[in-house]
């Protein structure tokens, strides 16, 4: 018997923005406790695919979706699915750090409070655990009431990761999380990702090939809305099956 340990199974997903088809028959597994990377040239659909995993595309007019997006065996796009719950379980980190204009502590407690946590001690524990989980605790523990805006770019991004962790997600989606950061901050986020997958599952969109090669276990290469190739990261970056993948990764186009 094959034991399948996929958190997410994307099955024949098609997505249109109006008349423009942005995703074509995309099928891809996302394995638990692994980093899955999506690469491809701008406009290939990788961010669209990432955003469709936690229904961020719901917010876009004229967006139509067909196919299945199975999360722990349940279709995320089923009419009975609670979108808020989906987004709690599947968090998202964006290219530009977007902390709320409030204190570091309030950034972390914002989510849990919305989800009904009111106990002060419990909230304090969430703040500490989340900041530790995002490798930020030691840097900010003495100034939790200072504005999040006083943090550096790299710290802000880790704060956003901590904010995602505060609501105990299973999956963390990252859309080019380090492209606005300097090399040292980038390296800290990469180290953090390797730690995060011990407890969570990470899907990352990145334009940095070396980054995808360094941190991911599986890599999908997308082009013109299609998933051209999906395989072990080592294989994709050493000897991909498709000529197109080789040409893209080696910088021949895109």
């Amino acid at each position: 018997m094959i034991i399948v340990n996929n958190v997410i199974d994307i099955e024949k997903l098609n997505l249109w923005y109006g008349d423009n088809q942005a995703l074509i028959d995309v099928s891809m597994p996302v394995e638990r406790n692994k980093v899955t990377a999506l690469i491809g040239p701008s406009g290939c659909g990788k961010s669209t695919l990432l955003r469709s995993i936690n229904r961020m595309n719901d917010l876009i007019d004229n967006c139509k979706i067909e196919g299945n997006m199975m999360f722990n065996g349940e279709d995320i796009y089923d009419s009975k699915t609670d979108v808020i719950k989906v987004r709690k379980k599947i968090g998202m980190i964006f290219q530009k750090p977007n902390p709320f204009p409030m204190s570091i502590r309030d950034n972390i407690t914002y989510g849990p409070k919305i989800h009904g946590v009111t106990d002060r001690n419990e909230l304090e524990k969430i703040v500490e655990d989340s900041l530790k989980g995002a490798a930020l605790w030691e840097e900010v523990k003495d100034r939790l009431d200072k504005s999040a805006m006083t943090l550096s770019g790299g710290q802000q991004q880790r704060l956003c990761i901590a904010r995602t962790l505060s609501v105990s997600p299973e999956v963390i989606l990252m859309d080019e999380p380090t492209s606005a950061l300097d090399p040292i901050a980038t390296s800290k986020i990469e180290d953090l990702m390797i730690e995060l997958v011990k407890k969570y599952t990470v899907v990352i969109v990145t334009h940095n090939m070396q980054q995808a090669a360094r941190i991911s276990d599986r890599t999908g290469f997308m082009y013109l809305g299609e998933l051209v190739e999906f395989d072990d990261t080592e294989k994709i970056f050493e000897k991909p099956s498709m000529e197109l993948t080789d040409r893209y990764i080696s910088g021949r186009f895109g």
């Binding site: 070396q210 970056f237 050493e238 000897k239 993948t245 080789d246 990764i249 080696s250």
Partner: protein, 215 residues
């Protein structure tokens, strides 16, 4: 990107040139043994410094490409394999140099031609190195179909050279110095064959990404 492709093309071209030079040295080493030709032997001796120079230059260029462009997928395989293959080629060049020195010694001793099994080994070495040079140019891996057989033939002949030489030396101690040279030269050809096999393995990886063993 344009600069990277130019640099990579140059790297490949220089490596192919180096391999062609090394092949020519192996060929000339065999000719100098068969015909006891001092001029040809001297030309091999002289060419080694060029091989040594190319080994250094290509290595520097390859490292610079790694530093500047961090090549990936097939480009990464090309650069990584070149870094390995130039070392094998430099060694083959050095063995050809040693064989040519041996040919010069045999000429000094007034020999008319070298022991046949030794030159047979030389011809196999030429075939094997040529397979590497041609595959590097046309990427046709079928050149390597018989390289393992050639390597075994080489081992077989090497044992023959050793046993015959021991026989001769036992019968006539006066030929000990000449026979010792034959044993050394047979060792050098056997090593050239080994390095050609290793180069063939690396080229296979460069071309199709598969790791194979030839011996």
């Amino acid at each position: 990107m344009k600069r990277f492709l130019e640099d990579l093309d140059n790297l490949v071209k220089n490596t192919n040139d180096m391999a062609a030079l090394v092949l020519s040295m192996v060929e000339r080493s065999v000719y100098s043994l068969e015909n006891v030709d001092r001029d040809v032997a001297n030309s091999v001796v002289e060419d080694y410094s060029q091989v040594d120079y190319l080994d250094g230059v290509i290595e520097e260029d390859a490292l610079r490409i790694l530093m500047l462009y961090q090549p990936m997928v097939s480009d990464m395989r090309v650069v990584a394999v070149i870094l390995k293959v130039i070392t094998y080629m430099e060694r083959i060049g050095k063995y050809s140099y040693n064989i040519a020195k041996g040919a010069l010694f045999l000429a000094d001793r007034g020999l008319k031609h070298a022991y046949r099994h030794v030159t047979d080994m030389g011809h196999i070495a030429i075939d094997m190195v040529r397979m590497v040079v041609e595959t590097a140019l046309d990427k046709d891996l079928s050149h390597f179909d018989t390289i393992s057989d050639k390597d075994q033939e080489m081992d077989f002949l090497r044992n023959k050279v050793i046993s015959s030489s021991v026989d001769y030396m036992t019968k006539d101690p006066g030929c000990i110095d000449v026979c010792t040279y034959f044993i050394s030269i047979s060792k050098f050809y056997e090593r050239i064959g080994d390095h050609a096999c290793k180069s063939a393995e690396k080229l296979t990886y460069m071309i199709n990404g598969k790791r194979v063993t030839y011996n």
